[in-house]
Amino acid sequence: MISTIVDPCMVLALLLNFYILGVSRLRTVIVVVAVQGVLLGLMYPIVHQGFLPQSGGLTTLSPLSLLRLVLLTAAIVGIKGILIPKLLFQAVLLADIRSTLSSVIGFVPSVLLGGIGAGAALVFAQTLPQPEGHTMHLLIPAALATVLSGFVMLVTRREALGQVLGYIVMENGIFIFGLLLIEAVPLLVEFGVVLDLFVGVFVMGIIVNHVSRAFPEASTEHLRTLRE
């Protein structure tokens, strides 16, 4: 029942991965990553409901836990959909970064790698042990595929900001894993994941600023001179 909502959304998240991997325009990538984040944030209350023992919809929840659920969803969506994109756009402006990303291996191979990763994730997920009463078939493959896409971003993008985005995509993948473990993992830990991400972005934003101050453009290629 619940998989009829979640699984299509996972397919959407996977498609967004491919879009992120294939697009060079920085602003578009930031927006798409934000959209993916918002999508996953909205997944949160749905999956949460699905796992409740007396799954009779939102009405059976006590007002307090309902408030908590709403606030938490709002926080996740707010951070992933508004705060982080805003920070990144600010970094683009302040650090005077070029408006397009470049890839070490090219964009089509990136998408191909992402595709191979998604396929491998689907195959690999079959071999993993599944939790009891688990009905959402696409959750684990989507999580693995998103983490791999993030990794592909991290490995192939030359610019520091491209790597920040790759890191966020990776975090999104981990967030999907978190959806799976919503019963087991306390909310606080869930929230910690988001905070973790926030700190990561913050730190990398500072790094980007420093790199851009030291070098005319924020490309990690220049870090090569630092070896040994």
């Binding site: 990794f151 030359r158 870090l223 001179t225 070896r227 040994e228």
Partner: protein
Amino acid sequence: MTSHELILASALLAVLSGVPAALLSKRSNMSQALATLILLCANGIGLLAVYRWWVDGAIAPLSFPAPIPGVSVSVAIDAISVCFLLPILVVTSMATIYGLQYWKQSEHEDNGRGVSLFLGAMTGAMTLIVVAHDGLMFLAAWETMAISGLFLVATEDHISETRKAAWLYIAASHFATLCAFGVFALLYAINGSWDFDTLKTTGTPMAFAMAALAFFGFGTKAGIMPMHIWLPSAHAQAPSHVSAVMSGVLLKMGVYGIVRVSTFYAEIPLSWALFVLVMGTSTAILGIAFAIGQQDIKRALAYSSIENIGIITIGLGLALLGRATGQPQWAFLGVCGMILHVWNHALFKSLLFFGAGSVIHGVGTRDMESMGGLSKHMPKTATCFLVGAVAICGLPPLNGFVSEILIYLGLFRIATSPETLASAAVFAAPGLALVGALACACFVKIYGLVFLGAPRSEHAAQTHEAGSAMCVPMMILAGCCALIGVVPLVAAPLLDRVAAGWNGDAAVAFKLIEEAPLQMLSVIAALIAVLLLAGAGFLLMRGIRRAPSGLTWDCGYAAPSSRMQYSSSSFAEMLVKLFGWALQPNVERPKITELFPQNVEFDSHVNDTVLHKLVLPTTRAVTWCFSWGRYLQSGSLQAYLMYILVVVVFLLLWR
């Protein structure tokens, strides 16, 4: 307070002795005096602990919880501990007093406080090593000692030679530590406890591996050939009073490790004993052969330390042979000879390093080719050095003779025994005799080059006698050498106890006074001493009355110079050639073809064969192999991330 509490207090105080000094001004000598005072107090408390042990006897080990939860460590003093504790307390006390003048804080602003700090730390760590009663405590103390030693060797780290020596030291030291970890891990595996105790099972591969690791690991620290590679350069580069402590005591910690592990075995195979005996004999002979080839006075003394470690190892081999063949008498003489030689070497080698330090302080170089004639300017140093040199050669009436005669006596017993296989061990006796003869040659060379003849350099001609803070420790040590040499009975009670403790077979209690002609030795030594003193007095009186003045007969050559004296290489040439197969001397002999040749130079020096022909080429090859790994370090962030990805995917798929 019990002896255990006292010794812990002593160790703690020693470790912290340099801390107040580290907080004081780097220009004032006060800080150094304070550190010295605290270390002397700590060592005094240590001696008190030894006294309490002597009165109370062995008491149950003192256990207390370690910083790691669920683990406790323990200390215990037994006769073996005390035998190694005494040299630590005496030599470090002398060294710190000597350092007051030799390494004055006001003259060494940059590193003086460091030397005080780490000398204290090393003293405390060594104290803890010998009283540790479990593997964890031992390892912690062992590593503290090794690291303090590193900082002491690297005192003058602005000199590149010193840095190299320090690296070599720490590499060898960590090899030893690694082996020690193996030893105690195996002890835990066999016994199920870290405590020092007899092994539950012997004859298994594990027990064998433990013995092998102990011999090679602790042997590296002790300087048994061919694991001695770190020793000459570290001893040469460290400040002389530190070299004295290192040679006199630090090496003995390696010996202690081997001796301690040997007590874990209820029975010793004959092959082990013979192996130790062979290693000891070859170490002694080659050590002194290398010493003869050296031009650096401290390197020569360092190689002579290797020789003495060899003699100590012969004693240990003899003792093990006694255990292996069920001949407690051999074991008794072996243990007594070994322990007495440990003490003696601590006394005379630190005396010699102090003497070398005074000479270096005066002349400003370690090269013996620039010294000469120093006995005129430094009579006290020369006399003390002579005492040390005679003692180390194993000549009566000094202490080296006593310990060597005990080992000889044991070896002679083997020769007259009916056991055929064990009598193979007799080769050690002529080996020891050869070592004695070579040691005489070596120290005749050193003493002759440094103190006799005419000065070979300006500095040597204008040198001065060392101050009293440097002379008094030397005199005390020389006095100890003479005391043990003339009245060896003073050492007998403790030696009896340690031999009984090590042998384990308390039923067969021997008395050294019955086994060795100690009174006879006393009489002979006293006679020789009296004769020597009388002869020296007679010569002195005559010499004063009609001192001849003028040159030595110079074969009619009109302009003799100090360069025409025997040099270090010329004196040693014959012996170096004899041992050329092992020493591999580097000789650059210019060919003279013209009738009126230009200025030419002859150069010969002896490098460490094991280090330069074996270890360095091997490490170079290993480095070359690993240099391929540098291709992985491209400097590109993306590549590093990809390595992470590859590893993560590998770990996901690997099961």
